[in-house]
Structures are given as C-alpha cells and as structure tokens.
C-alpha cells in the first residue's frame, strides 16, 4: 500500500505544485499540506516537495495566510495553520511560517457576542469567582463560532512553531503562550461527557452529543498531554470507538494519535489497509496522505509530535 500511495500522490500533483482533494480537482491547501508532510520523509518525493513548497510560496497572501483553495481568495486561518504545519518540515521557509503564525494568532478570538453581552462579560470579569465560558479559539469562517477542528489545527501549528525556535522569548513566539492556554481550555470545556469530542459543543438543546473518533483524534493531537485525565478519558473513548470505525480518514488520524500517546496502533493501521483494498480511499488525496503519515508514525515519525 505504501508504494501505491506514494505513486498516487506523485501522479496526482497538479501542474502548479498543489494537490486537490481528488484527482483533477483544483489545488487546495489541506490536501497539499498533508501531501507535503507525508512525502517529506520519502525519497521519491523530493521534486514534488520543491514544487509543493513553491506553490505555497506563490499563494501565501501579504498577511501570511492562505485561502482554502485556488478558487477562493478569502484568507482562512484553519488552512493557514495546516500550511504552516507542513512548512515546519522544510528549510528556507522560516519567514513564511512566521508570517503564517502571526496571521493565525491575529485570527484567534472568542465567540462573537452582541455589545450588551460583551458589557455583561466585562462587568463579570471583576468578580474573581466568575468562570469565563466564552473561551477563545478558531473558526472556520470569520465572525462565526469557534470549533474543535480549526482550534486544534491552530494549536498544533503554534505549539510546534514555538518549539521550533531556539529562543522563543527573543523571537516573540512566547507571546503565543496565553493564546495556546486559552484555546486548550476551550477544547477541555468542549469535551463530551464520555470523553472525546463532537465538532463543537458537547450539548445542544440540553441533549448530550456524541463524540466522534476523527475529531477526538485531532483534538488529542493538538493537546498531546498524556498526563491529563481528560486526555486519558478521551483516549479510552477513542480506543473503544475505532473498533467499529469504517472511515479510513478517522482510522489514520487515530493511528497518528495513538502513536503519540504510546498506544499500540498496528491493528487500526491494518483496518485502514483493509479499507484501502476495498475502496482505494475513494481516490481521496488527503486520506491517502494521512494513511502514509499513519504508516510512518508506526516507526515513530510524525510531523505532529511535540517535544516533551
């Protein structure tokens, strides 16, 4: 499967160096970022990587961001986080990453609220016992609510970039710390009752929502805190949930996650391999790249790994 996926990724690279979500589709940042991450440690991928990084260089906006794909022009923080995360693996991209990190930091925000509620928030802030519920995070689109997935991508990127600089204090990356801390609180606040994460809140109209393996794996990759009881509870949920999982995308993300938390992941990689035989992952480039990353993670390699 490994060779087939590498060949598929190399064949499906667009002429501008990007990858679309599936063959012959317009270049999009998400599949491009995962393709770059997955090919980074594969010898045959060298040329493709140069072209892929070149595509990101050409499409980065003046404010350091990317739009979700080449058919859109509006900057998107979640796509920027993924592009930045991918670029961390390549030399000569420091200025691109720094600009991207700044854009992601600038996009951090709380749930938009009318002025009257903001006034109430401000007044309550003087009460030391008040626990803030409207925590900051990241959105799919500006001026909407914060969600687990975009918040997780931004957290992964900011934590990694903070660790990648020799002296965060001097370079300004230390300024990310309070943002990272608040976004982590948002994720913990959103955790479902049984552990794991839905896409947003844990409840709607008083009903508990169910967690999903994919979002749970993404959130756990962002938090990467094995000693935290909430993460442990969510890992227990994830190990239970993947037994019935039929999505290769979710399985491959779970394999990544288990690898980083020291949990054996081979059975789930095997399940993802069986699905490949059945569906070839529906020719989905992001899923294929994540499968390659999952295979690499079995050998301890992962672009998501934070230094302990």
């Amino acid at each position: 499967m490994r060779t087939q996926i590498i060949n598929f990724l190399l064949e499906q690279q667009n002429s501008d160096g990007s990858w679309g979500f599936s063959p012959a589709k317009a270049g999009a940042i998400e599949p491009t970022a995962y393709a770059l991450m997955s090919l980074a440690s594969e010898e045959p991928g060298r040329k493709a990587i140069d072209r892929g990084v070149g595509f990101l260089r050409k499409t980065q906006t003046a404010r350091g961001a990317w739009a979700v794909n080449t058919q859109d022009s509006e900057e998107a923080a979640w796509a920027t986080s993924l592009a930045g995360l991918a670029l961390l693996g390549f030399e000569g991209t420091e200025s691109m990453r720094t600009a991207a990190a700044q854009f992601v930091v600038d996009s951090f925000g709380r749930h938009p609220r009318p002025w009257i509620l903001r006034l109430a928030d401000w007044m309550r802030s003087f009460d030391a016992s008040y626990v803030e519920e409207n925590r900051g995070g990241w959105k799919w689109n500006p001026d909407t609510a914060n969600w687990v997935e975009p918040t997780s991508y931004a957290l992964m990127f900011l934590k990694k970039i903070q660790q990648s600089v020799a002296n965060p204090q001097a370079s300004g990356e230390n300024a990310f710390k309070p943002i990272i801390a608040e976004a982590e609180l948002l994720l913990y606040q959103r955790m479902c009752k049984e552990g794991g994460w839905n896409y947003g809140n844990a409840q709607v109209l008083g009903e508990e929502l169910r967690p999903y393996p994919l979002t749970t794996a993404v959130a756990l990759l962002a938090l990467q805190n094995a000693s935290n009881p909430e993460c442990q509870k969510s890992l227990v949920y994830l190990q239970r949930a993947v037994r019935e999982e039929r999505s290769a995308l979710a399985l491959c993300m779970a394999v990544q996650c288990f690898g980083l938390y020291g949990i054996p992941a081979e059975p789930w990689m095997q399940a993802a391999t069986v699905l490949y035989g059945e569906t070839q992952y529906f020719q989905n480039i992001k899923t294929s790249a994540l499968a390659l990353l999952a295979l690499q993670s079995l050998n301890g390699k992962s672009p998501f790994r934070l230094a302990s």
């Binding site: 599936s22 589709k25 959105k139 799919w140 999505s247 995308l249």
Partner: protein
C-alpha cells in the same frame, strides 16, 4: 430588478367601507412594524431570475410500505407522472447523508437512492451521479460504508461526489434574505442538468422540518464554509435555505417518507413509519405537502412561508395532489416544544 417583500405580502385594503378605526390601527401598527423591521434588517427581496412560482403545482404521494419493495417501479411511476425530461441529461441525485448510527433513520435510505439511480438510467439519463456534502461529518468515506450506500454505488458503477471537497464557484444569490450577495457552491451541482433533491422526511430542531429545500445545505461546500457550515447558521437558517434555493434550482424532489423521523430531528429523533415516497417539481409544494402529511402547518415554517412568495406554492388550493390524498396518509409527528405551534 428587485421585488420587495412588501409588495407581495402587505397589501392593505383601500375600500372605504372596510376601513374601520380598528383596521386603521392594525394597518398603522403593521406599517410601523414593517418600518422598524426595515430599519433593523435589510428588506428581504429577490431578483427576477429567482422568481419561479407557477399558478399551479403538482405533488405525487405514492405508497411504499417498506424498503424491501420494488422501489424502482414506484420511483419510475413518480417521475413519469411529471413527464420529467430526463433523456440525455446529467442527473445529480442529492440525498441526505448526515450521520450514521445503528437503529436510527437519519439518512435517505440507500435502497431509495439505489432505486432512483436505476430509474433515471432507465429513463435515458446520460449519466447519474450522487453528491452530498454532509453537514458536520468530514469522514464521508466512513458514512458511505456504514450507511450501506456504497454497495448500491458500486453495483451501479455510480460516481459519488463529496460536495464538501468539490471545486467551488461563487454565484450571485437570486434573493437577499441573508444579505450577503453571493455564496460558493459545489461545481458538480452547477454542471448538472437535473438536480434531484432526495431528503428524508424529518423534523429539525432549528428549522421545524428538513425536506427538499433544507436538503440543499449539502450543496454548499464545507471546504469553504466548514464542518458544520456554521456560516449559514449565523446568517439565519431560514434565510439561508431560501437564498440557496432561489439561486440553485432543484428540478425534482423525491422524499423518503417510508420511515421518517419525528421528535428531536434531524439526528436524535425517533423513527416513524409513514409508508410513502413524495414526488414533485416544485420544492415548496413538495415540502408543504410533506409537512401536512406529518400533521404540521407549513405556513408556520418560516422558510416555506418566505419561499411561497416567489419560489413555489404553499397554498393547498394551488397544489394538485397526485397519487394518494394527504388525508389518507397522514401520520402526525411529535415535535419538540419550540415547534408545538406548528401542529395542525
């Protein structure tokens, strides 16, 4: 050219004999409310290109007791009763594929989708694709397998397009309820000749009911608007439904009402057998009829009321019923507290 709502919905009587003091006060307060609403929010309107209301619509209710029956035959009958021009057309079936949980009826049943693929091919369609952009699930691959849709696609060699990850194109909206001017749509939808909305007959905890019109949320790409498409919610669910439907026409509807969902839909509700498939080429009339079938007043559902001004017919006098009459198949649905007022 815009046609403001007020010209359609706020016609004041000018006959002097009817113009009592009470009427004057009512008219004045209505005008006041309209003016205030106009100050608070942009006046909703639609472009001439978005106007599709005909004098008379038709809706067919055909009985289908279970998913094991010959559904292809029922669907062929349903399509034929509208003399739908299918020959040589690129057909895109848009089912409702949201989520999979065992023993629930969240999605359009795969047997109905499989039967529709066969029916459109038999009627001479050039190609049939199935496309959906699930509202919050990113792992569409898992949904296809777990929901049981994949074997039907494989057997009929039908292409599935994840509309969330498709190429995208920005389109000017043909109405202005959201007040945003344009929206991106999945390219496969724009390239199709015949868009068939295939919803599940379900209640919806924000919108009242989710049917042919609400089903088109799935043609708005997640890659642009996220998972879920929170952008649409922030601009108003009812407003979004109308703007999407005024801009992208679903040419035909096939509603899976064999087993519907009542209560806290669209995900956590309870299965409710109704035993029907509902067909039509006016999505407003189809959705209004479905609401009546489950014992709800369509006039109370905001998006249907707004759409009835220009997109289709809500008034039963303007809907010719084919197949079974509504009264013969009524199965009242339970609804959550906030929609109790909709009950007939």
């Amino acid at each position: 050219m815009n046609y403001p709502f007020s010209t359609q919905h706020f016609e004041l009587s000018t006959r002097s004999e009817e113009f009592s003091r009470r009427r004057f006060l009512k008219a004045a307060s209505t005008l006041g409310a309209v003016s205030l609403a106009g100050c608070a929010k942009r006046q909703p309107s639609w472009k001439q290109g978005g106007y599709r209301k005909s004098d008379q619509s038709r809706v067919a209710i055909l009985k289908a007791a279970s998913y094991d029956r010959d559904l292809t035959g029922v669907i062929l009958d349903g399509i034929r009763s509208f003399r739908l021009d299918v020959v040589g057309k690129r057909v895109l079936l848009k089912p409702n594929l949201v989520e999979y949980e065992r023993d629930t009826v969240i999605n359009t049943n795969p047997a109905v989708i499989g039967a529709a693929i066969e029916a459109f091919l038999k009627l001479g369609a050039k190609e049939v694709k199935v496309g959906e952009g699930p509202g919050h699930r990113r792992d569409t691959d898992g949904l296809l397998l777990a929901s049981g849709l994949y074997p039907f696609l494989k057997d009929t060699k039908t292409q599935f397009v994840d509309l969330n990850l498709d190429d995208i194109r920005r389109m000017p909206l043909q109405s202005n309820f959201m007040g945003i001017g344009s929206l991106y749509f999945a390219e496969t939808v724009l390239q199709s000749d015949l868009l068939v909305s295939m919803p599940k007959l379900k209640t919806h905890h924000w919108a009242g009911m989710t049917l042919s019109m609400k089903n088109l949320f799935g043609i708005v790409p997640g890659v642009k608007y996220g998972w879920p498409k929170n952008f649409l919610h922030w601009h108003g669910i009812h407003e979004s439904i109308v703007d999407i439907n005024s801009t992208i026409r679903s040419h035909f509807s096939i509603v899976d009402g064999i087993v519907g969902m009542e209560g806290n839909g669209p995900i956590q509700g309870t299965p409710k057998p109704v035993g029907v498939l509902v067909f039509g080429d006016d999505p407003v009339a189809v959705d209004a009829t479905c609401a009546r079938v489950v014992g709800l007043k369509p006039e109370g559902i905001d998006y249907l009321k707004s759409a009835s001004g220009f997109l289709g017919n809500l008034n039963p006098a303007r809907i010719r019923q084919l197949g079974e009459g509504v009264s013969l198949v009524v199965q009242p649905f339970e609804v959550i507290e906030s929609f109790r007022h909709l009950k007939i």
